[in-house]
Point group: C2
């Protein structure tokens, strides 16, 4: 049985599924205790830089494209004409960068509670922060729950909730009250998307999220799945929730001929992300 | 940083990608040194039983359905009318069970070099061995390379190579000579499918496999992707190679109305597994 020397490996134990994932590290690059959470940065041997918050892996240089692209492009190509986007969380700015690749986007407001996450990203993931000075972007460091409560009704096309897990600062982003604020802030036909954890080990949480979205009054939901190596199980989801209308496909021609480059996303991958395995269909149908 | 006590966790280090995956264990159930490899069985806290060969995780009770279904049903619904199937490797019998779910299959011959793998599976994965006494099934314990060399030309519809990684006993199953034997054994339009490792960390190996299949004379290739938590990166592939003909879709109506149950596979999931991300398209195209 192999031993992991804790000086050479960063290990995240995910106790509810009795599993753990480790990356080999060269060195710790930085560490800060913000008012909200404990942030660590590592240089790994094979995955570039690694950000860890409260002991949980947030992203690596090598594989963050999967998550950031899937949290951005499917929702933006599902909405018929998104102009005004709000990102809740997302302090590493990788989602912001993907959203700003869409030339028709007029305004993106990112609200992360913890400025230190963005300061760390600027130092250790500069490629993700390359669009932070785009004139269409506004970066706020504030409480996203309060921000959504105070957003003028019917003013936003797309809300992207790019949060940590529903423990700690992210907890209030997974309940009916928050979703009601989001629903009110969206224009008719507007869409919320949120990371919704692993199909293999978090189906109860996914079901609870979807139920809270329904209870808040969203008209239609769609859960998409994609690989994400550094998160527990290596398999992840996001869930779209639409106001007033059904989620009826996506702008396939636009997705197939984007004005920008992606590493993972394309129109076929978008379609594929909607195909749910039998066990997910059954559990979502039983809701 | 978390510490993994090696008495409570089984850890597999995958050194080429500087990553490791661990499952929490209750106890070691069995251990045997066969003439070919070292086989260990563990009881885990959350993933049922776990088989490890030469330190590498082979399968767990909880997630083997992903791999076994994807190695079986896509190729069988791609072939127009498979009757005679050969499985090389596959000693845990999970692939055999999936193949035998297809009522029109007349004969399945499984050739694993190591009888101890099947003996262990019978004890610790009895559900995977439930079809071993099906009159259509023949289990041989012999060298799959030699078996394919001696198989009468044009006698097989589908060959499933359910092997370990290309190190140790599995090494000879990833080269041109083996693929040439398989090609000769297949009927016209026959299809080989083989597990082909991770898109995120084994693209060179995948490209080399595909090149060897082309060099052997296969007419068309198709790589499918799917999640597989207990393998490195949690994201895996298999590659189909067809004799004489293009791989032109699959029998969608049959796949959508199967005579049996699956946990992961369905017709939409099959279609989705063919959608390759941009970075894979580019690397496969550059071949």
């Amino acid at each position: 049985m192999s031993e992991l020397n804790s000086k050479q490996w960063f290990t995240e134990i995910f106790s509810p599924s009795g599993s753990a994932f480790s990356l080999r590290i060269e060195q710790k690059l930085a560490e800060v205790q913000s008012p909200f959470q404990h942030i660590e940065m590592y240089q790994t041997t094979d995955f570039g830089n690694l950000m860890v918050i409260d002991g949980v892996i947030m992203l690596s240089s090598r594989d963050n494209f999967l998550y950031h692209e899937m949290l951005s492009h499917p929702v933006l190509f599902t909405h018929p004409a998104p102009k005004n986007v709000v990102i809740i969380g997302g302090g590493d700015c990788g989602t912001l960068r993907e959203v700003l690749k869409h030339p028709d986007i007029e305004r993106v407001t990112q609200i992360d509670i913890d400025e230190q996450v963005t300061r760390m990203a600027e130092r250790f993931f500069p490629e993700l922060c390359a669009s932070n000075n785009d004139p269409r972007a506004t970066l706020l460091f504030a409480d996203g729950i309060q921000y959504m409560r105070e957003t003028p009704a019917g003013s936003v096309d797309v809300i992207i909730v790019d949060s940590t897990d529903p423990i700690g600062p992210g907890e209030g982003l997974f309940n009916r009250a928050f979703y009601q604020s989001c629903l009110a802030a969206l224009k008719p036909g507007g869409i919320l998307v949120q990371q919704s954890e692993s199909p293999l080990i978090h189906m109860q949480l996914l079901n609870d999220m979807r139920q809270a979205m329904k209870d808040a009054g969203f008209a239609d939901l769609q859960t998409l799945q994609f690989p994400q190596m550094v998160y527990p199980s290596g398999w992840w989801t996001c869930t779209l929730a639409r106001k007033d209308q059904a989620i009826d496909g996506f702008r396939r021609d636009a997705a197939a001929n984007p004005a920008f480059e992606t590493v993972y996303y394309n129109a076929e991958v978008h379609q594929a992300s909607m195909a749910l395995p039998n066990f997910m269909r059954q559990q979502l149908a039983a809701q």
